[in-house]
């Protein structure tokens, strides 16, 4: 009898222990995590262990400089993913409660982070470094009077072309889009294996930059109401131009950043690449054998006024749930405004900094590693950047971009009208914005 009582008591003990262990996890799972802790206070010089999710090339070398100077405030870099994928991961991590302290966010991704409560309000911190950036650059990270990110780099668009192949095939560099179309036809006539360029269904940011050059304004926020005009005149002009050439087979329609594209850039199947200022860095990774064969010039123009758009460019944001807010702010200020950091970002990361101090850095007197044949690369780029214009981003850019992928892939496959594809993206984007509960005004 006594044995049975002992066994029963033992089992009861196990059961209560188990229940007690399970309860906290249950409660934690049910807790509401919509609150934003206001942690502007805090000692910026206290020891810290910051995590930084970013994909800038060689950023580890820049962070090493900080780590050497601030041994008690270590920053750990994690190259989780690139571009849209990193935003996806950050949103998921934030929901799970373990977002990184420092987030690398492209400008179009900031609204998504803001409405999901991921990006902290950095207005008070931005006040202190207001003069380090132009007003136009601050406009990229400020919404509704508050600033949510410190600009890191900008990506004005320009044209890269294979100088050697242009000479070999006897082509002239196009200065207008009409000339671009005629050069594209010449390429196909002279060598049926080559194309002047490709239209990528996988790079919505690239297409947005082309639309910006033409004067598009996809989203306008007017006192809380959004006006969506993805299918405005300018965008349709760009879409129709590329669509006609792709559907006729004059331009390629295959996506960028695939093994096939890498090979095409290396062996000259593609002769030109409308890209951004960071394109030289990408070429180094994708087609290193073509070093010294590319030249950079302004993009072909639509009319007499020089203009160009932006492709990418990013800011650094801080997680709203970071418990090391003050130290994170100190690091972000250093990373994006300190001369030494900016010099390192240029020489190691191959990016064009947004800070005015960075744009006059001595590092910009050398050409990027991939283009020793163009020592005036950055001076030319600075000239081009002066004519760059962008537009505002809505909170559902991620939905618009994923619709772009599918809709344009289908349009290329079926050789259908690209302007109609733009209409379809407009419809899907407006529908999603309304579904999420935003006020939308039909244009």
């Amino acid at each position: 009898m006594t044995q049975q009582i002992q066994r029963r008591g033992f089992l009861k003990g196990i059961a209560t222990l188990g229940a007690a262990a399970a309860m906290p996890t249950f409660l934690a799972a049910c807790s509401d995590d919509d609150e934003q802790p206001s942690q502007a206070a805090g000692d910026p010089n206290a020891p810290a262990n910051l995590t930084f999710w970013t994909w800038t090339t060689n950023i580890q070398k820049v962070v090493d400089i900080w780590n050497a100077k601030n041994p008690t405030q270590k920053v750990t870099v994690s190259n989780q993913a690139q571009g849209e994928e990193l935003i996806t991961k950050t949103l998921t991590a934030h929901r799970a409660g373990n977002a990184p302290d420092l987030i690398h966010a492209e400008y179009q991704a900031l609204p998504v982070l803001i409405t999901n409560g991921v990006a902290a309000d950095l207005t008070s911190m931005a006040e202190k470094i207001k003069g380090d950036f132009t007003d136009g650059t601050w406009a990229l990270t400020s919404f509704g009077g508050k600033t949510y990110g410190i600009p890191q780099d900008v990506g004005p668009m320009m044209l890269y072309y294979r100088e050697d192949l242009f000479q070999q095939l006897g082509l002239t560099v196009p200065k207008t889009w009409d000339e671009f179309a005629s050069v594209a036809r010449q390429v196909r006539q002279k060598d049926s294996k080559r194309y002047l360029a490709t239209f990528s269904s996988g790079d919505p940011g690239w297409f947005a930059g082309l639309a910006e050059q033409a004067g598009a304004n996809w989203w306008v926020n007017d006192g809380g109401t959004w006006t969506v005009r993805i299918n405005d005149e300018a965008t349709k002009k760009v879409a129709t131009f590329w669509g006609q050439l792709v559907n006729e087979g004059i331009l390629s329609g295959k996506p960028m950043y695939t093994p096939e594209w890498n090979k095409a850039m290396t062996d000259g199947t593609l002769l030109a690449w409308p890209s951004a200022i960071w394109g030289a860095g990408v070429l180094e990774g994708v087609a290193p054998a073509t070093k010294g064969k590319w030249r950079m010039v302004p993009m072909p123009q639509w009319d007499a006024t020089p203009a160009t758009g932006y492709w990418g460019g990013s800011a650094t944001a801080i997680s709203s749930k970071s418990s090391q807010r003050a130290q994170a702010e100190k690091f972000v200020t250093w990373l994006n405004t300190d001369q030494e950091a900016l010099d390192a970002l240029i020489s190691e990361g191959g990016i064009y900094p947004a800070a005015t101090k960075g744009q006059s850095s001595t590092q910009l007197s050398k050409a990027p590693a991939m283009m020793p044949n163009q020592p005036s690369f950055f001076a030319d780029a600075a000239q081009i950047a002066q004519s760059a214009r962008g537009f505002n981003w809505a909170p559902n850019v991620n939905v618009t971009y994923s619709q772009y992928n599918d809709i344009f892939a289908k349009a290329i496959q079926e050789k259908s009208d690209f302007a109609a594809a733009v209409d379809a993206i407009q419809a899907a984007s407006v529908a999603d914005l309304k579904k999420q509960g935003f006020e939308v005004k039909e244009a």
Partner: protein
């Protein structure tokens, strides 16, 4: 217990006391924590949505929306197209995969097979390759400008087939799935064949059957339960196809981000940051899988579990 002549009838007391429950406890805890709780949470999520209050870049609030997510999922043409495409994919993959596995198993079971062990390992090897790697591998073989297959065709002077064209991409993706799955199913069926007593074949040979007749009339019916089981598992994994199309999607224009239902669920949950629609779509897919599995099992119950049930 002593069956005494007692007036009251009591159920015999189970020997061992509470020990069985203690031994079951870990499995039950794991089942509840990692299967039942997440399923419950998914259903709960699918009945809610995250809506913006206040204009501009207003902050989101989660609220109860009833069956709104389900109606939007079922009326979403991308999701429904993906469902139909997945069914077509299943119709291609399951018969070819099982047919090939059965053929190889039967061939390897013949009495005078040569290089048996080598063939078994060779056929099984693709199964050991992780899905993403296999898809990337086949991606290189499919992309025209980096494919050795195209080079081989052009060396002979024939036009190379376009594996990723709109009409052939379904078969190309199915090919990756079949290539990876044949090995495992072949091993299962081969093992079932090994379990058949040899006297059956002797009896058949005495009656004058040749090898092909033995294979079709004796072996296949005897391993029918194994064939049906592998068929059902193949069907269930087809309903969850994701790795192959998702890996091939960035490489080509012919695979969309909603090519199969699980890709739509991934896109909703992680790219569009709309976990509630994804939860609703997951519940719909899970219910569909359950219905199909139960239907097939019921229909084939007798043959799957043997005639003695």
């Amino acid at each position: 217990m002593v069956a005494a002549a007692a007036v009251r009838r009591r159920r015999p007391r189970r020997r061992g006391g509470p020990t069985p429950y203690v031994l079951l406890a870990p499995a039950i805890v794991l089942l509840v924590l990692f299967l039942l709780v997440p399923i419950g949470y998914t259903v709960w999520l699918s009945l809610r949505a995250s809506r913006v209050t206040g204009g501009g870049l207003g902050i989101r609030k989660e609220m109860f929306v009833g069956l709104e997510n389900y109606t939007s999922v079922l009326t979403d043409s991308a999701y429904v197209d993906g469902l139909l495409r997945m069914l077509l994919y299943g119709l291609i993959v399951v018969p070819s995969m099982l047919g090939l596995a059965l053929l190889f198993a039967l061939l390897l079971d013949t009495p005078r097979v040569r290089f048996g062990a080598f063939s078994r390992i060779g056929i099984f090897l693709p199964y050991a390759v992780p899905g993403v790697i296999a898809s990337l591998l086949w991606g290189f073989l499919y992309l025209p400008n980096v494919s050795p297959i195209r080079d081989a065709f052009e060396a002979v002077g024939l036009p190379a087939p376009d594996f990723l064209a709109a009409g052939s991409v379904l078969f190309s993706v199915a090919n990756v799935g079949v290539w990876g799955g044949v090995g495992f199913n072949m091993i299962v069926l081969f093992t079932a064949l090994r379990g058949v007593p040899g006297e059956m074949y002797d009896a058949a040979r005495i009656d004058g059957a040749n090898e092909v007749q033995i294979a079709l009339r004796v072996k296949v019916p005897l391993i029918m339960p194994a064939i049906i089981m592998t068929g059902i598992f193949a069907m269930i994994s087809t309903l969850q196809v994701y790795t192959e199309p998702a890996t091939l999607q960035p490489l080509t224009d012919t695979v969309s981000q909603t090519w199969v239902p699980l890709m739509t669920i991934y896109r909703d949950a992680f790219v569009n940051a709309d976990i509630h629609s994804a939860a609703a779509a997951s519940v719909v897919l899970a219910l569909g899988t359950l219905v199909v599995s139960v239907a097939v099992l019921t229909l084939l119950q007798r043959r799957a579990f043997g005639r003695d049930r």
